[in-house]
Symmetry: C2
Subunit: 99 residues, 2 copies
Amino acid sequence: MTLGQKIRELRENAGLKQRELAYQLGIGEGFLSKVENDQKPLKRDDLSKLSKLFKTPIDELDSLWLANKVYSIVRDEESALTALKVAEEQLKYKNFKNA
Amino acid sequence: MTLGQKIRELRENAGLKQRELAYQLGIGEGFLSKVENDQKPLKRDDLSKLSKLFKTPIDELDSLWLANKVYSIVRDEESALTALKVAEEQLKYKNFKNA
DNA sequence: TGTACTTGTCCTAATTTGGTCAAAAATAAT
DNA sequence: ATTATTTTTGACCAAATTAGGACAAGTACA
């Protein structure tokens, strides 16, 4: 599940057209289309708008947003998976240190 | 193990001073210091120089380089770990599709 | 045909990259 | 205890990249 997929799901379940949601967010429908197709990143502040609009927890949106960012940098990389593993270890080590 | 740590290890095992290695790479010693402390990213092209210089496989350097980049964006994030997991899933899904 | 969505081109503004240089701090040598 | 060497840090900078869109034209489809 990507952020774009999630947004589309929320929007469709709410019975909204792209143009309508785009208006709520203050962006154009073309841009929203790209966001839903994960071709453009959504401004992070807009996540809270989505959260309120669709009454969905912001945490999930936020981690999807971050995941998209991560994915976009490893997407075409040979060593993508190993890099993720290494990053994860570094993260755990840091959390361990500051525990 | 981060890229900076790896570079320092390689350099010290080769008995080089920062200034010497920095010269080989065509950068200043101050910058190299920051690289070894993971405060600045190293230019990706320089990895091959390191690989040749220290006769160490480029793959490892490369994945450490990428891991650093990933880590730098999730480092201070609340949802860091979940985001990594999600990104990993997206990656596996993509590899599955194009298999 | 009309409505909804997608895609390509283009743009500005913000951020990141990839450094330099000098000063400060730490370490080693005398 | 000084001095010399090595490393770290802070401030700054230009260049490259990404963010965050707009807009028009193209597609899909009922």
